[in-house]
Symmetry: C2
Subunit: 225 residues, 2 copies
């Protein structure tokens, strides 16, 4: 019997080629509008949506942000983004473990691109699969909460190797003593995988460390204009 692994690799190449056509369309669309686009990837529950709602609330006057929300089911996250004051397009993947460039293309066509500065794509919660698909974004942003453990960059290296920025979220939990998390280990392992990765230690809930992240975002938007 042909081993499943071989079959999988063969197919993934077809999927990746089809995906790349749409990723290139997305790059062109974003480029024509001088738009910055980040693809946020993490495990479920690391706090992607909370980081985005806090960021939108605090930077609403300074940066025009929209969010493309990827979820298997529900529109909870798009509603949270809308409530924070930004345009949100919800995509339900109906079981698929990542967003495709075609789905993002469909969402981009529904956004007023000439009235925006920055688009966040919030991918399906999954530390593995989404990092394999380019969506046409400028950069990937990895999110890791301290509740997930400090061994994650070593155990799930692909995302950390490919991301421009790592947001270490929920650092307010460190003070409670219920979480064992060695920040130095994560910094060291992530930097070994990716020597240029920028790391921000934040808490979307308490607001700790958010100002450094905001400064970086504003610099990135300025540099695109």
């Amino acid at each position: 019997m042909k081993p499943p692994k071989t079959m999988k690799i063969k197919v993934d190449k077809n999927i990746l080629a089809a995906n790349e056509e749409y990723a290139e369309k997305n790059r062109q669309l974003l480029g024509q509008n001088s738009l910055l686009c980040f693809n946020m990837i993490s495990s479920p529950g690391s706090g992607k949506t909370s980081i985005l709602t806090k960021t939108i609330t605090d930077l609403n006057e300074k940066i025009r942000i929209a969010v493309i929300e990827g979820d298997i089911q529900t529109d909870f996250d798009a509603k949270r983004i809308s409530a924070a004051g930004a345009r949100a397009i919800q995509i339900n993947t109906e079981g698929a473990c990542h967003l495709s460039a075609a789905q993002v293309n469909n969402a981009l066509e529904r956004l007023p691109l000439d009235k925006l500065d920055l688009i966040f794509i919030e991918n399906v919660g999954n530390l593995v699969c989404p990092s394999a698909l380019e969506l046409g974004e400028d950069f990937k942003i990895a999110v890791l909460s301290v509740a997930e453990g400090d061994d994650k960059p070593a155990k799930y290296p692909a995302l950390f190797a490919k991301s421009k920025v790592l947001l270490i979220n929920k650092i307010d939990m460190l003070k409670t003593g219920v979480v064992d998390f060695d920040l130095d280990r994560v910094r060291r392992d992530a930097s070994r995988l990716n020597k240029n990765i920028g790391i921000f230690e934040i808490s979307a809930k308490s607001g700790d460390g958010m100002s450094g992240w905001y400064d970086w975002l504003q610099e990135m938007v300025q540099s695109r204009k």
Copy 2:
């Protein structure tokens, strides 16, 4: 251009058929040895390995346990299991987002099956993909930590719909006030997806609630003999 989604579905059927042949081999192997086998699935960092090391330490005299450890990279988890006193076989998927039945078959052949009562398969940390592949297990066990948020059964329904048991882990965090997590919402949403799901609220770290889980495990092992 043919949409990627269609291609994906076509291929998944081939992979699933090839996988099912090995899953059936595993069922036969487990059945011949009156062995119980659980497939543990969760996001990265929900505490699967910590639950297993605590369970092995506490039930060492009562149940003969082995663990098949699935990770993309590293053998950290197999080392933790061995240190707790159980036999562990580490499988590195080298990028793949779930274990396959063929990989589990290979691991089973390296274990002394006639000297065991229970095998845990600790799948790759991923709340989405592993639930699509049968490995030959008796049941799936879902793990969700309170740090991940109470919206996860609704947002990632497939695993919760298919699992025999849901372990809600890290309940010691609820006392600290840093986590917003509505246990009733999770119980309600999980039971709506799966009316027979058994739910244990535990903390592998503090030991809270573990005795109910141990009683259930021992009953299951007894019923297999």
